[in-house]
């Protein structure tokens, strides 16, 4: 089997890279094991929320200048980062995903536990705040679906009340939900969303919510609507009739899964091949240290050949990186990594402090080429959270690194 480019990993970075290449005329395949980080999305993509020294970032593009040379943004280069960051909303809109946001001015998102975090691009489901302490309204009606435990109304009410919003907590009960409620583990976001989508049950939910409103000027709901169609959320807003703020739930994330499915559909519509439920197990190299082909579980003896390979397998959770008591390695190509050798240096004893292991990852050239045994591999690129050099969680830059490195690697391949 032969493609122009084979991308390993079907998360945000793999899909963005694949769509860009496919739409530019490359024949691409994505090999994906299954779920991605988008399945537990926060509802926003972040570009840079905090500097490594802990200071809060207001203007990400301006702050990028002050990052270390090893940071993926520094490796890609400030000008390119700015270009891709500015282009990203249009790119996503071209895939059918509506986002709001500005790379030169962070907005704020409300987290499932009521915290406020810097955000770059916000999915259409959600309401970005312009300042950290913005009040969502004078009186809020926070509505949950009876029996759903992954939407913490108390935590949210408490955080809104701290900004001076008076809160009332209520719940709706739908007979269509009773079947789910009978099975004690079924009341989870995606199951609720599926029931809501079926026969437009969400209309009933919206009208129940509307009837509950007394003198409130804002309604707060869990983001469990429109698994298949983002428009559902907009239509619900109209049906409820007053300002409606959807807040991200604990995983799985309904808007995140929808976004991932939308990107996948866009890639396939452009002609790309998406192989789901498969994993690359090994690779062979040409004499010039370029990758020749890879083998996967499902294709068995049939090897997959390509001119270029993009590694977008993520970090530890998605098995892009493997840790043993002795070492950390990348399992497919054995590419060179940046990490601390002593296990003591991987973690901090306080969970809430910065954890070093998050910043471990692939060593890459300015073209995002990987290395094996110190030698560059000219046709193998690493993108997304597999990249080392940034503590994406602490700095709040995971989404930005994924999207920007994906676009940068795609352009390197296109301009070869």
């Amino acid at each position: 089997m032969r493609f122009d480019t084979v991308i390993i990993g079907g998360g945000l970075s793999g899909l963005v890279c694949g769509i860009r290449l496919q739409k530019s005329g490359k024949n691409c395949a994505i090999i994906s094991a299954g779920q991605s980080a988008m399945h537990f999305s926060s509802g926003t993509f972040d570009l840079l929320g905090r500097m490594p020294d802990g200071s809060v970032v207001e203007n990400p593009l301006e702050a990028i200048d002050r990052l270390d040379a090893g940071h993926p943004y520094s490796i890609i280069g400030k000008e390119k980062v700015a270009r891709y960051a500015t282009e990203a909303p249009d790119f996503l809109a071209g895939c059918g995903i509506t986002v709001k946001g500005d790379a030169q001015s962070n907005s704020w998102r409300i987290t499932p536990t009521g915290e406020r975090k810097p955000a770059w691009l916000t999915l259409g489901d959600f309401t970005p705040l312009t300042s950290k302490n913005e009040k969502i309204g004078t009186k809020a009606l926070i509505v949950n679906i009876l029996g759903y435990l992954d939407f913490n109304t108390k935590f949210l009410a408490d955080s809104f009340e701290k900004q001076g919003t008076v809160c009332r907590i209520a719940s709706i009960r739908l007979e269509e939900m009773e079947r789910l409620r009978k099975n004690p583990s079924e009341m989870r976001s995606t199951n609720i969303a599926r029931v809501m989508d079926r026969d437009n049950i969400w209309e009933k939910a919206a009208s129940q919510v509307k009837e509950m409103i007394k003198d409130e000027d804002v309604v707060v709901l869990p983001a469990v609507f429109g698994l298949k169609n983002a428009e559902t959320v907009e239509t619900m807003r109209k049906a409820i009739g007053i300002k409606t703020v959807f807040v991200a739930t604990m995983p799985p994330s309904v808007p995140g899964i929808r976004t991932q499915m939308t990107l996948k559909a866009e890639f396939e519509r452009a002609g790309g091949r998406f192989f789901i439920g498969d994993s690359v197990i090994e690779a062979d190299f040409n004499e010039d240290n370029t990758v020749k082909s890879v083998a996967t579980y499902n294709f068995g003896d049939i090897r997959v050949y390509a001119d270029d390979f993009v590694l977008a397998t993520g970090s530890f959770f998605s098995k892009g990186l493997i840790a043993t008591p002795e070492k950390i390695y990348e399992p497919v190509f054995g590419i060179d990594l940046n990490y601390e050798e002593k296990r003591d240096g991987w973690f901090d004893r306080n969970f809430w402090n910065r954890q070093n292991y998050i910043s471990f990852g692939a060593k890459v050239s300015e073209k995002l080429n990987t290395y094996v045994d110190g030698r560059p591999v000219e046709n193998l690129y690493a993108i997304g959270s597999l990249l080392g050099g940034s503590n994406t969680l602490y700095e709040g830059c995971g989404g930005g690194v994924a999207i920007i490195s994906a676009l940068a690697a795609a352009d390197e391949i296109l301009h070869k």
Partner: protein, 546 residues
């Protein structure tokens, strides 16, 4: 007796909410005394909750410590009757590996029989049929009546019964000083960590059941006990590799017991002396992890490919006798000190040494002495009085009787609370919905624990219900349960800080083994809690007891 006339006057004050204190409180209450039990953290936070959960047959001590062995087998038989909902009758095997001396087996069996332990040499092939996960290379096997016991459940059941018999139980209350008049201890001064109040309580007898921390409590009374803090580290694996307790048939050494318990199994322990100053903060070192893995794989080779869930360590409350650097040679025997005869301090006794297995006997001895001091002639009944939850039926009978169609959640609940499960509402769909999928803990069970079992935070809740003890180590259930606690305690700030402390406490058991799937799980937790939720360290207690 009920001699106390005021709210703060009791017949006996027991300091320490581990299994010894809980057992003593129950025994005293059953003998009609007005009891106050005081614990500075939660129940079972010390050595009680940090061991193998092994229902010793006593075989392990048969060769080296006959007295402990005899106590163990007697208590083993008693606990099977009085604490059936806390005990799993798994049986145990003592395996001889090619590197071990088979000659030890004969001596071992002989010593067991002398101590009254039914030890039977069986064909290694039969042993492998009994426990297929055992090392196939074994050259010898002895069957003994070992089992598994849930120490949290056992402590909780003792406390429930003490309360049913009128005892007052105060958790998160720390004894700051003892009230002494002349040569007599009249009571205790406490600091209540929840209400932030200083309080005073009086009783003619105070029992020091503080385990390793008992050294400090004795100091407050002006007495000196030389404890020997012997740290023991253990590893928890993600599922039950074995159904039969596996031991090495050799002189007790590192990592030679593998115990199944609930959904997991445990390998342990190491033994090393630690400075007394460190007993509040036990960290498991990489070397300890390596030893436990190396030795554990010899008992059950499949441990090499089994996911490790957690590493943890406890401190044995041994009483020092000689200069033994490992503490292995010190007797695990019971130490009951009457400070009146020993140090001239009246109204104060210490019960220490011993082990989880012999807690009931320790309680009996301590209560006998308390009764002597109070001139009470009441005798002990705990050897034949079942604990609440263990009265009669087994899990299936209780489930059938309570629910028309008992499901897995119902059975898990009965498994944890025995016959007490009837007071847990599980009929309504909302009550039946699961907070913790790994351990099948329902909304109803969480509510029951919060209302009835002295639960003040998520870590307490874990000890009562197993919330967050499964493979995911509290990924989503912690947040759900925090929401319920916010409701119950009407304070969201406290619940949120509690959530942070809980996640941090889970991490403490994970970082010593943070590679492979454990690191993957941790990274996911980081994404959820630090990333998606955006929680930060502010308000988190970093060094809370496990």
């Amino acid at each position: 007796m009920g001699t106390g006339v005021r709210d703060n006057e009791f017949d006996v004050i027991i300091v320490g909410g581990g299994i010894t204190g809980a057992g003593t409180a129950r025994d005293c209450a059953l003998r009609g005394l007005k009891v106050l039990l005081i614990e500075r953290h939660d129940l079972a936070t010390g050595a009680t909750g940090r061991n193998h959960g092994l229902l010793h047959s006593g075989a392990r001590y048969a060769v080296t410590d006959r007295e402990s062995a005899e106590e163990c087998i007697k208590e083993n038989m008693i606990l099977r009757k009085i604490a059936r909902h806390c005990v799993e009758e798994t049986e145990g095997l003592f395996l001889t590996l090619p590197e071990d001396d088979l000659a030890y087996q004969a001596k071992f069996v002989e010593s067991c029989q002398a101590a009254g332990i039914n030890a039977e040499i069986i064909d290694p092939k039969e042993a492998l049929r009994m426990e297929p996960s055992a090392n196939p290379d074994i050259i010898g096997a002895v069957k003994v009546p070992d089992g598994a016991v849930d120490p949290f459940r056992l402590t909780s059941a003792n406390v429930i019964d003490a309360k049913l018999h009128g005892a007052k139980v105060m958790v998160y209350s720390e004894v700051t000083s003892l009230i002494k008049e002349g040569d007599t201890i009249k009571g205790v001064e406490t600091f209540n960590h929840i209400t932030k109040q200083k309080e005073k309580y009086y009783a003619p007898v105070t029992v020091n059941a503080g385990g390793i921390w008992g050294q400090h409590i004795a100091e407050l009374a002006g007495a000196k006990i030389n404890m020997f803090p012997a740290k023991g580290a253990l590893l928890i694996f993600g599922h039950r590799v074995n159904n039969v307790v596996l031991n090495r048939c050799r002189k007790p050494a590192n990592a030679d017991i593998l115990v199944p318990g609930d959904t997991i199994c445990l390998i342990g322990t190491t033994s090393s002396r630690v400075p007394f100053e460190e007993v509040d903060n036990m960290y498991v070192t990489p070397d300890e992890v390596d030893v436990l893995l190396q030795e554990g794989e010899k008992l059950a080779p499949s441990l090499a490919s089994t996911r490790i869930l957690r590493a943890y360590a406890g401190v044995r409350p041994l009483v020092a006798t000689d200069d033994d650097p490992s503490g292995r040679n010190i007797s695990r025997g019971i130490v009951l000190l009457d400070h009146e005869t020993r140090d001239g301090i009246k109204g104060f006794i210490s019960i220490t040494g011993g082990k989880l297995m012999t807690y009931r006997l320790m309680a009996e001895w301590a209560t006998d002495l308390v009764c002597r001091k109070l001139n009470s002639s009441e005798t002990c009944v705990t050897m034949h009085t079942p604990l609440p939850g263990s009265e009669k039926e087994n899990i299936d009978e209780i489930s059938q009787k309570t629910w028309s169609k008992p499901g897995a959640t119902h059975k898990a609940t009965v498994g944890r609370h025995g016959a007490r499960a009837v007071s847990i509402g599980l009929n309504d769909e909302y009550d039946a919905s699961l907070v913790c999928e790994c351990e099948e803990v329902s909304v109803g069970e969480v509510r029951y624990a919060v209302n009835e079992l002295d639960v003040h935070n998520l870590v307490d809740l874990r000890r009562r219900t197993r919330v967050g003890m499964g493979t995911c180590q509290g990924e989503l259930c912690a947040c759900r349960a925090a929401g319920m606690l916010a409701d119950a305690h009407k304070c969201t700030d406290r619940a949120k800080n509690d959530l942070k402390s809980f996640v941090n406490e889970r991490w403490k058991g994970m970082y010593p083994i943070c590679w492979g799937d454990t690191l993957r799980e941790s990274e996911y937790s980081q994404w959820i809690y630090s990333g998606v939720c955006g929680l930060e360290s502010e308000g988190c207690e970093t060094d809370k007891a496990e």
